[in-house]
């Protein structure tokens, strides 16, 4: 610490008697919360062992997380087949990275190619069939399922949201009206109700015997709601774009879709990206609601693991672990979104 900074923080924390008093009170408050927490989580915690009986200390029993780690990540997905989930995740992550690093000129074509190939490939790898052992979605779970639902719902939500946002700005009155009604309807109802709705109504309104998968219903339901929120995020970008952009494109003889695809959307989506990232964070948080239709994502698995008679009283450990993972994912994404926003302003 340099000599110049020393008086500054002393000024900030102990500048006046009132400031100093507040500092002391707050520091005591932090200590009152943090000391027991750190003792529980780190100092008094048990780290190694295999059963409940190994946890003799008064602190956290991280043995429980160790024993359950596979379930927290993959749910009841068969142990021998978990490489398939890892492979899917790796393919998606590497494709994303590849797109990020690819030259701008080819990026859009590559992205479209990835959008055509990757989603069916992912479903095939996870669900099996065609040479792989079929695994029912009932056995999927944990963090893998959280990510699956988030990614596949946004595969519905982002294209539909963009279309809805365009529809809301359209000059065609009927298109505008339908878009507004769709957006306001889904934004007005609770997501938990939509998940119930999707799981009850989808089998009802499709021809009998279609037998739509439970997980697919939840993904479709979430996709529809998030599409409405995405549409509002995209609308912000469309409205921020000067109307001269489209007018100039039209004057050059571009059709509506060409002007939209080549001129308007590339600029508007760049402006909307932070808002869309925030909606994606909200989606990750809302995937937890599939719990109400007995699909066990990360939080659901944590909750279900509390019922294990061999591991009674592990509530805090399970919640702390699941909460930390959600926090890390969402915090990282929100940092990224903030950075995008700053770059946009700068």
């Amino acid at each position: 610490m340099s000599a110049a900074t020393f008086p500054l923080w002393r000024q900030r924390l102990f500048g006046t008697p009132a400031t100093a008093a507040l500092t002391v009170v707050l520091a005591l408050g932090i200590a009152w919360v943090a000391v027991p927490l750190i003792r529980w989580a780190l100092i008094d915690a048990t780290w190694s062992g295999t059963t409940r009986n190994d946890c003799t200390g008064s602190g956290a029993c991280w043995v429980f997380i160790r024993a359950r780690f596979g379930q927290f990540m993959y749910g009841l997905y068969p142990v021998d087949e978990r490489w398939r989930a890892d492979l899917t995740g790796a393919i998606f992550a590497l494709s994303g990275l590849g797109l990020y690093l690819s030259p701008k000129a080819t990026r859009i074509r590559l992205a479209i190619l990835a959008l055509i190939i990757l989603p069916p490939l992912g479903v095939w790898l996870l669900a099996g069939g065609f040479g792989l052992r079929p695994i029912e979605t009932r056995e999927w779970g944990g963090l893998m399922l959280t990510l699956f639902i988030s990614v596949y719902s946004s595969l519905i939500a982002i294209p539909l949201g963009i279309l809805l946002a365009l529809g809301r700005q359209s000059q065609l009155k009927v298109v505008r009206l339908i878009s507004v009604l769709f957006i306001e309807f889904w934004r007005g109802v609770p997501i938990i109700a939509v998940i119930f709705l999707a799981s009850l109504l989808l089998p009802l309104i499709l021809p009998s015997g279609t037998g739509i998968d439970r997980l697919a219903r939840a993904v479709i339901g979430l996709g529809l709601v998030i599409a409405a929120y995405m549409a509002e995020a995209v609308r912000g970008g469309l409205q921020a774009l000067p109307s001269g952009q489209r007018e100039a494109a039209t004057a050059l003889g571009l059709t509506y879709w060409k002007a939209t695809g080549l001129i308007v959307l590339p600029q508007a989506l760049r402006i909307s990206l932070p808002a869309m990232t925030n909606e994606f964070i909200a989606l990750i948080k809302n995937t937890t609601l599939v719990l109400v239709v007995s699909i066990l994502d990360l939080l659901g698995i944590a909750q279900a693991s509390l019922a294990d008679p061999n591991w009674v009283g592990m509530n805090m450990e399970a919640y702390a672990f699941a909460g930390a993972i959600y926090w890390l994912i969402c915090y990282a994404l929100s940092r990224w979104s903030k950075r995008l926003e700053r770059r946009k302003l700068g």
Partner: protein
């Protein structure tokens, strides 16, 4: 040939064609869905229609504000659900607003430690799912509370334990209705006084003791009225009998957990809105007011807050509507709100999926539209008047 081409290239014709095609497509899809649904329902032996609302419900509800019993019909159950949803929503909004303002202002404090703590709280709650908080409060905190015999006593009249919060209940609500009426009346008087004072100030430039009168009418008169009401009724104070408390009113643990989760979660979002709103008022505004000779209280009240509100109100409306929608998270811990009672229990009992889902969603849409309409009106009133 040329006329045909010019006809199909006419923008109006094309626009009309696209719109008609879209409408036909949507109508076709709807007809297909409805036909499938009616076929499926005939197969399952479910008659459509709203007759089921008058059937006896037979569903026991652990938390009732309306005098509903199992023998009442399903429509009564619907009202119980709405009442429970509204109860938790209104209380959560009030508490979250207070907590959110405190944290938002703390975030802007010049005290480094205070603003860091507020910032850490905001970053913590905003990046964790609400359902996590609901489950955590319910299974982590409330379930870990002592059993009734070792309850935490709040001033010897209310008792907090793992079966909920037992509070004293007055034997008759009438004095409280009077107190409520007196409170609303005195708030109305204060509003009229403020209007009169503002007009007089504009005409004559003289101040009226609005603040003193405000304390009298907004706080002291209602406080006296409620104290009177509290003394006028007999209180049924809960007493420990055997393993549980008798008497009083039990606020079920689900309510306590859901409320705590909604308040702690929403406060983080409200804090960010408040911070943004206050920061949106340029510093020059308060400096200019100070240069004009306004006192600090006047600067805040007359210059900063009115401008900050303009930024705060629209996102705040969204948060309030979010609380309404998020109160349905109670379904995960079986808090008897409209979703879990009506879309859950009643639907399971009757199988009338379409009618029940439509009614439940309509509740949210109607309340949401009403709140948005009110907030738009309010927003238009406080909006910047240009030209």
């Amino acid at each position: 040939m040329a006329s045909v081409l010019s006809f199909i290239n006419d923008k109006r014709v094309r626009d009309l064609f696209y719109q008609v095609a879209l409408v036909l497509g949507l109508v076709g899809a709807t007809v297909w869905f409805v036909r499938n649904a009616s076929e499926n329902m005939v197969k399952a032996g479910i008659a459509s229609g709203f007759d089921f609302l008058w059937r006896t419900s037979g569903i026991e509800v652990p938390f009732v504000l309306t005098g509903y019993t199992q023998q009442d019909n399903i429509l009564a159950l619907f009202w119980v659900g709405i009442a429970n949803t509204m109860l938790v929503t209104v209380i959560a909004i009030a508490l979250a607003t207070v907590l959110g303002f405190i944290i938002g202002i703390a975030r802007l404090s010049s005290h480094w430690l205070l603003s860091t703590i507020a910032g850490a709280y905001i970053e913590f709650v905003r990046n964790i799912p609400l359902l996590f908080f609901v489950l955590f409060w319910y299974f982590g905190v409330i379930a870990a509370l002592p059993a009734p015999r070792a309850s935490l006593s709040l001033f010897g009249v209310a008792f907090l334990n793992n079966r909920g919060l037992t509070i004293p209940l007055p034997d008759s609500p009438a004095p409280f209705r009077w107190a409520l009426a007196i409170m609303l009346l005195s708030w109305l008087i204060q509003w009229l006084v403020m209007r009169w004072a503002r007009r007089r100030k504009e005409e004559t430039g003289r101040d009226a003791p609005v603040l003193l009168l405000g304390i009298l009418f907004v706080l002291i008169v209602p406080a006296l009225a409620f104290t009177w009401a509290g003394l006028a009724v007999r209180w049924d104070v809960p007493v420990l009998r055997g393993f549980n408390y008798r008497g009083g009113f039990v606020v079920i643990p689900e309510f306590v957990a859901l409320l705590a989760a909604l308040v702690t979660y929403t406060a983080g979002f409200i804090a960010e809105i408040v911070r943004g709103g206050i920061q949106a008022v340029p510093h020059g505004q308060s400096e200019a007011s100070a240069a004009l000779g306004l006192r600090p209280g006047q600067i805040l009240r007359l210059v900063v807050i009115p401008q900050a509100l303009r930024v705060i109100v629209p996102p705040m409306t969204n948060q309030y509507l979010n609380v309404l929608k998020n109160s349905s998270f109670g379904a995960a811990i079986a808090y008897p709100d409209i979703v879990s009672l009506f879309m859950g229990s009643a639907l399971n009992n009757t199988g009338q999926a379409i009618e029940i889902i439509a009614m439940t969603l309509a509740v949210y849409l109607v309340i949401g539209l009403a709140v948005s309409a009110f907030m738009n009106w309010y927003n238009a009133r406080i909006a910047l008047v240009t030209r």
